[in-house]
Symmetry: C2
Subunit: 285 residues, 2 copies
């Protein structure tokens, strides 16, 4: 994702420094016109820092860890945070950066690696007007659609986690239905011929159902992502005393998929839990 | 639904006799060009009998009950069954009618009253080639899309119940997400502005979400329909030892909605269960 977003920024004429724990990714980025450097030194001269990591722990490490970059940023720099995190984490990040004179834009994203490469992401943004106005040219170079959801960090992360909650439940419900259908003599291919044209369809069903039909679990997005994201939802829900039984059930199915050894496979591999529980043979098995 | 389907048949030039427990509905149908009569007498002369009722018990009563019509049908008549029923019920209906020399088309439908009136339903059909060829002109006058799913009754009902399973889970997941979003400061209207453009969307979310936003629970389809249909799925799943945790969780939420007194309201009223469980105030409350 980060590589595609960096290249979108280059195409829009920005000067972009790339950093990654994978050195090869950085070398490719330089070959494509990017720059890199010694991070504390580069950090001082940045207008905007975009963090594209997997979760709150990585964002914590990048900004405030032992080699964290936040203390090196000049006052008035804007940090854009793109990971899916709890809204509370986004709010506390905004507050801690404000203590350093640094602005924060809570901007989780949707769309995957292909849309990142095209500068066609959807971003759900919460930020102060000052942070927003400084970040806008950078956001506009990476995203096709920007939802401005509130004047504080947390508003973007709230909408993103709600979207992930639905996405996870709908992947699990696709898996539950496509395997239940098999017990009733409906083959997965027939299921995918009919259901997308009926009221039972969802974006995730249409996107992930073909992975089950083809028996192809190459990870576009992995089971572990939904163990994480439905875990975040469950933690938040427990904290505010919100009963979320479908989210809870879906999380258990993703946990079972991970427990069976499919954590790094495509999230559609949650269908294997249903299949094993009912001794069904999925396509490709 | 039945009135609209009868009128679609009239427009296509068929001679149609209408029967309903509501006399007014029959009078309106006659005013629109339909006919009626004494059922056992009319039954003898029918080529095709279309049953449009709510569940298996009503279909049982219409065909085989005390005043059931099946024994009056001439050999070679085709019965088209449109209710959502268990595939096993469809198969046994086919067998019992075959004992009377009567053919059966298992043809549950999707689309609602508006599409019924336009002759634009979707039908999921399982039937022998003989039954199918006799029924085809009638089906084609009522449906825009006909999925031919197998050469026996049960195949249509299997796909229909799988669709209902997804529909019910997706209505409940919309309700779970739109109320969870409220706990995170996201208003229902903002939720409906953003989520339909993201990967978390579903057909049901886009169709039923506005009912929550508007606080309008006029029943387009009622909570009790999903108590029934998710109940059918649960019964079938238990019978074949298929673990369906999302379906089970969604059924409990619809049961709670009915238990709270919302059984006759629009199925989106399942959101009231989530709201009451978390002391949230939905729009219109």
């Amino acid at each position: 994702m980060g590589g595609g977003m960096g290249r979108s920024l280059l195409r829009a004429g920005h000067v972009v420094h790339g950093f990654d724990i994978n050195d090869k990714a950085v070398l490719h980025f330089i070959a494509d016109g990017g720059e890199t450097g010694a991070l504390p030194d580069v950090a001082k001269r940045l207008d905007v820092l975009v963090t594209v990591v997997v979760n709150a722990a990585q964002m914590e490490s990048v900004l405030f860890g032992e080699h964290g970059v936040a203390p090196s940023l000049a006052k008035g720099t804007v940090v854009i945070g793109c990971a899916t995190v709890a809204p509370d984490f986004a709010r506390s990040t905004e507050a801690r950066l404000a203590g350093l004179g640094v602005l924060y834009v809570d901007a989780p994203m949707s769309g995957g690696a292909a849309k990142a490469a095209d500068g066609a992401l959807t971003m759900m943004v919460g930020a102060t007007p000052e942070a927003m106005s400084k970040a806008e040219p950078v956001l506009a170079s990476m995203a096709q659609k920007i939802f401005r959801l509130g004047d504080r960090a947390g508003a973007g992360s709230a909408m993103k986690i709600v979207n992930q909650m639905l996405a996870g439940v709908h992947i699990a419900s696709m898996a539950e239905a496509i395997t239940f259908a098999m017990t009733q003599g409906v083959e997965p291919r027939q299921f995918m011929d009919v259901i997308p044209q009926c009221a039972g369809t969802s974006w995730m069903l249409e996107n992930r159902g073909p992975h089950v039909v083809d028996g192809d679990y190459t990870p576009r997005s992995a089971v572990e992502i939904f163990v994480k994201d439905l875990g975040i939802v469950s933690d938040i829900a427990r904290g505010v005393r919100f009963s979320a039984p479908l989210t809870a059930a879906a999380l258990q199915q993703f946990l079972a998929a991970s427990g069976m050894g499919f954590g790094a496979e495509d999230d559609a591999a949650v269908a294997k839990v249903y299949a094993r529980n009912a001794r069904l043979k999925l396509p490709g098995e």
